[in-house]
């Protein structure tokens, strides 16, 4: 498991029904591309986050397949409709099989 992996997500705490909100996500991860070489000339093996999914109450917002060309600490910003109160689920899948999850509740008034 890659060390120091920490997901961070910015979601408003409240919204009105049907409102469009902006979500920002970032996960600290080295995203080793598999292209770099160490001091002895050996290729450093690829180790990246290969998929990111954002859902709200079980409905999908965005589903991204990441390649090594995504920068260190993969960042995504996108919009979502909030039909009702509920929970955003964010999931990142690592090459090494690790799955990182975080969730954020939102209150619709």
């Amino acid at each position: 498991m890659a060390s120091g992996v920490k997901p961070r997500v910015k979601v408003p705490k409240t919204a009105s029904a049907g409102e469009t909100i902006t979500i920002k996500t970032l996960i600290s991860h080295k995203m080793e591309s598999g292209q770099r070489k160490d001091d002895d000339g050996n290729v450093i093996p690829r180790s990246i986050i290969n998929r990111f999914v954002a859902d709200f109450n079980g409905q999908n917002i965005i589903d991204v397949t990441l390649e090594p060309a995504i920068s260190t600490n993969p960042y995504f910003q996108f919009e979502a409709i909030v039909p009702e109160s509920g929970e955003f689920q964010f999931t990142w899948y690592d090459d090494d099989g690790s799955v990182y999850e975080t969730s954020k509740a939102i209150e619709v008034s």
């Binding site: 469009t20 965005i62 589903d63 060309a69 995504i70 910003q77």
Partner: protein, 123 residues
């Protein structure tokens, strides 16, 4: 296509992957838009934004990278704008290409050239 012989090998690598994705179908222009800086000082982290109204999926390619594929973004039912921003690595000055698959199965294409001062592949 004629007159493409002068393209560097890496450009055709990206075109190969695009052809695989589209099945060789025509790619039209439309509302698909890709926004990237004209000049990126640091190729390790280049901010890009893709906006694809009416698309179910957008694939991003960088035609000058050792591997052209960058990311594939699928938009779900709760995504109103079909727009996303991220940060990518670019090895050198090149085109970032977006291919969008629309709801009716057709494809759109947009690209942006980014001049890179310091490459992002750890040469």
């Amino acid at each position: 296509a004629t007159g493409l012989g002068a393209l560097p090998a890496s450009a055709s690598l990206a075109e190969d992957e695009i052809a695989k994705l589209t099945g060789g179908a025509e790619t039209g222009a439309g509302d698909l838009k890709i926004t990237a800086p004209e000049i990126a000082e640091n190729g390790n982290t280049v901010p890009i934004d893709v906006s694809a109204p009416g698309a179910v999926m957008v694939a991003l390619f960088a035609d000058g990278n050792p591997t052209p594929a960058v990311a594939t973004i699928k938009f779900g039912p709760l995504n109103p704008s079909h727009e996303a921003s991220t940060r990518i690595r670019l090895a050198e000055t090149q085109n970032v290409i977006a291919i969008a698959q629309m709801e009716d199965g057709s494809f759109q294409r947009a690209s942006a050239e980014v001049k890179v001062t310091i490459g992002g592949c750890g040469g």
